[in-house]
Point group: C2
Chain length 97, copies 2
């Protein structure tokens, strides 16, 4: 499912026009990215937490080239689902007790 | 930043009432969770992809108890940021070229 389909479903579900739901969703996402860039952590109750983590500089020995390679540090967005979010994929995981 | 503050900022930014922005955001999140439960992958352009992955059953030797412990499989939500999302944390990482 992509953003357009989601905006359509959201509009139907909450009785707003698709223009309004798309506008709010786009603004919601850009506000999240702005806050992450400012180094803030975003906590969305009953969904999860988004934060920026930094992968440190690392050195790995490359067997193919027999050389030590340096991986520059980089920032990445980490998502941790809330404990209250219990995702039970319908068709895949059958829990055998 | 939490969901209420986000909804307030979104309302200000896109000229909607806080009631409408909160309603659309809550519906957006519940639609995402519903789709994930249905096993769908959510791709939000210029933000990222949310999908459900399964951590397989694992066995670990516990040094403290000297016993092999079994970890049941569980589902978790994986978030992968889009390539176009370049998060540059302002104060933390100073990139030395």
């Amino acid at each position: 499912m992509n953003k357009r389909e989601l905006a359509k479903r959201v509009a139907e579900k909450c009785g707003q026009s698709q223009v309004v739901s798309t506008l709010v969703i786009n603004t919601f996402i850009s506000c999240i990215l702005e806050s992450l860039e400012a180094g803030e952590k975003i906590t969305i109750q009953d969904f999860g937490t988004l934060s920026v983590k930094q992968q440190k500089k690392r050195e790995r020995f490359n067997l193919a080239t027999n050389k030590v390679e340096t991986y520059l540090p980089y920032d990445y967005i980490k998502f941790t689902a809330s404990k209250s979010v219990k995702i039970k994929q319908k068709e895949k995981s059958v829990k055998k007790e």
